[in-house]
């Protein structure tokens, strides 16, 4: 059995809007093992980043309930000083936009050096510089000594993302959270960055939480996948099962929305409607029901739970059993008539 690194139990993260709290992360439970990549997939606004920020304790003025066990220790609502000892040392985070994730007025060397300095006070200045240059080499930055002295605006987007990664892995964290690490990069750089993250994971034997909306990235990187919709996990499975046999209507719709180069399609598939806003989210019943209106309401559960369909494969709500796409049903009818 793989070693559990991070275990999230019934996590609720609520934002305050005027006088009420609205859960952006609603009853999420999942685990991340050592040397494993867990991908969290979902549309924009479904709570992926809110979940990542919850794990890192980056939220201000939010209510967090439930447990986040990091190596068995609950890190929800612990004191900032305790959290600061973990952050950067045992947990690292890679941000989405490398253009804003670096302080524009600090040279690269100091930014990476800060992570080392904060968690290893004995390290001498020269040793620190050596280590920073090592890190820069590790993430594949050429002319590391030159880059050490440069400011972020002097580097390209891909280079900056490498610097962000170098900062995150400076202390070889056991848990690495990558919040859409490749969204802001072009395709060729994307694969390099993904390979880099994968290699680093192997090297450090750490767990990775990869947040993305790109199913290609998921297929390439992930060991297990958690699909998120409107703050809830709707399906968890290992990557092969999920790609071969997606069950939840939302997962199916997601796969259906990916354009296929081999088929000639006139129109791309889209999922009807939009993700409901935090305030208008239905708090009871299946949250996806509104976007698949052709499925009869009686097929949904009243209080949808995660069901373990096969070992390690969880699906929320029973509606998956009866789900079909509207085109399919039309075809069926067509057949029926002819």
């Amino acid at each position: 059995m793989a070693e559990k690194l991070l275990e999230i139990k019934n996590l609720n993260t609520s934002f305050r809007i005027r006088d009420d709290y609205y859960a952006a992360v609603d009853d999420v439970s999942l685990t991340v093992n050592k040397n494993e990549v867990l991908a969290i997939v979902g549309e924009s606004g479904c709570g992926k980043s809110a979940l990542a920020f919850s794990i890192m304790g980056l939220h201000n003025r939010t209510k967090m309930e439930g447990e986040i066990l990091f190596k068995g220790e609950n890190i929800v609502n612990i004191s900032p000083s305790k959290l600061n000892k973990l952050r950067g040392k045992s947990m690292g985070m890679i941000f989405q936009d490398p253009l804003t994730a670096l302080n524009p007025l600090m040279i690269i060397g100091d930014q990476i050096g800060e992570a080392l300095l904060l968690h290893n006070k004995e390290l001498s200045k020269t040793k620190r510089k050596e280590k920073v240059i090592d890190l820069l080499n590790k993430v594949g930055i050429p002319r590391a000594e030159h880059v050490y002295e440069q400011f972020p605006h002097e580097l390209s987007g891909g280079m900056r993302q490498r610097v962000v990664i170098a900062t995150a892995i400076a202390n070889e964290p056991e848990l690495l959270i990558a919040d859409e690490p490749t969204t802001a990069l072009d395709v060729t750089i994307q694969s390099q960055i993904l390979d880099l993250i994968k290699d680093l994971k192997e090297d450090m034997n750490s767990g990775v939480v990869l947040i993305t909306h790109d199913l290609g990235v998921v297929a390439e990187m992930a060991d297990r996948v958690a699909v998120m919709y409107a703050g809830q996990l709707v399906e968890i499975a290992d990557v092969h099962t999920l790609f071969e046999e997606p069950l939840h209507p939302y997962t199916k719709s997601l796969f259906n929305s990916v354009p296929n180069a081999n088929e000639e399609q006139e129109k791309l598939h889209v999922i009807q409607g939009i993700v409901p806003s935090l305030q208008n989210l239905p708090r009871t019943g299946c949250r996806f029901a509104a976007r698949i209106p052709w499925i009869d309401a009686s097929q949904h559960e009243e209080h949808p739970e995660l069901h373990e369909v096969k070992p390690g494969h969880f699906v929320r709500c029973s509606c998956y059993k009866h789900f079909h796409f509207p085109e399919e049903s039309k075809e069926e009818q067509h057949h029926g008539i002819s």
Binding site: N84, R87, G92, Q96, T100, L102, A170
Partner: protein, 304 residues
């Protein structure tokens, strides 16, 4: 061939030399393009050097001594700018007065800057309830009637010095910069690099002073420069109204206040005109430099 490779080398060397311009060189270029600001800066440096240099030699006690035999002497050989109703050398008073006025303006600007920046940064960064409470305290200071309290202080405080006067002014002038810095800190703290710093385990205070402060520094420099100009004017105004320094401590404002005597205003221009011109040119010069600095801090407005 040889020439070719040489030129290639040249290009390489040039490439290495191109570095993005540092803050100082940007300001330098801006000043060269803006001749008025450059002249203003040179004027300021000269005035400051001259005034502080000479006041080492000049003795304030000596100058403010009353000499009844030389009352209201027009400018001449003995007194370059004549004397006032006490027979005191106006030129000497102008030098000492400019020094005193500048010292107060500098002190007030630096103290308000320090208080305002720290207050604004903390309030903006921590936000929420902290921000709310801190801003209400600020509002309280904002509604206090500044002039009236200064007048009351002049009556209460027995011994008036540059320090006490600066402290009183500081107590009522730090709010503007605090608000400005707070709004900037509110903006800055939502950026990803602050989150990134947090994920490294950087403590809050370190983030405030190591990450946010440098990123608002250009705003601080510009605001403080412009504040300097208005502080010179404010001190003169208070002294003119008689709520500043006593005559034993000359400042530009006290010299100006002699003009309240209609006789002096009409017939003895040498007493008040130099001080007025000094105030005018000082404020203009500081303002010009401040505006040039503001342009330098914003790439869209730069001329250089």
């Amino acid at each position: 061939m040889a020439a070719n490779s040489a030129s290639v080398e040249n290009v390489d060397v040039k490439k290495k030399e191109i570095k993005s311009p540092s803050g100082l060189s940007v300001i330098g270029r801006e000043l060269i393009k803006d001749k008025i600001a450059l002249i203003s800066l040179i004027f300021l440096i000269l005035v400051v050097a001259f005034v502080y240099g000479i006041s080492f030699v000049l003795d304030q006690e000596e100058i403010v001594k009353v000499d009844l035999f030389s009352i209201y002497e027009p400018p001449g050989e003995e007194f370059i700018l004549g004397t006032d109703y006490g027979g005191r050398d106006v030129f000497g008073q102008l030098i000492i007065g400019t020094r005193n006025s500048l010292s107060i303006a500098f002190l007030v600007t630096i103290m308000t800057g320090l208080i305002g920046v720290v207050y604004g940064l903390l309030s903006g960064y921590f936000g929420g309830h902290v921000d709310n409470i801190m801003m209400r305290i600020l509002d309280f200071f904002l509604i206090l009637p500044f002039t009236m309290i200064v007048i009351a202080f002049v009556a209460i405080v027995p011994k008036y010095s540059i320090w006490t006067f600066s402290l009183i002014m500081t107590a009522f002038l730090w709010m503007g910069i605090a608000r400005l810095i707070r709004s900037k800190a509110l903006q800055e703290k939502e950026l990803d690099y602050i989150h990134a710093a947090k994920t490294l385990g950087t403590s809050n205070l370190k983030i405030v002073f190591k990450h946010i402060l440098p990123n608002v520094s250009s705003l601080i420099i510009v605001t403080m420069t412009l504040n300097l100009a208005s502080n010179i004017g404010l001190e003169s105004g208070l002294s003119f109204l008689g709520f500043g320094f006593p005559e034993s401590t000359p400042s530009l404002g006290t010299l100006l206040s002699y003009a309240r005597n209609p006789q002096t205003l009409e017939f003895r221009w040498w007493i008040w005109v130099p001080a007025s011109l000094m105030i005018l040119f000082l404020m203009l010069a500081v303002n010009n430099v401040g505006v040039a600095l503001r342009r330098a801090s914003d790439a869209r407005q730069r001329r250089g």
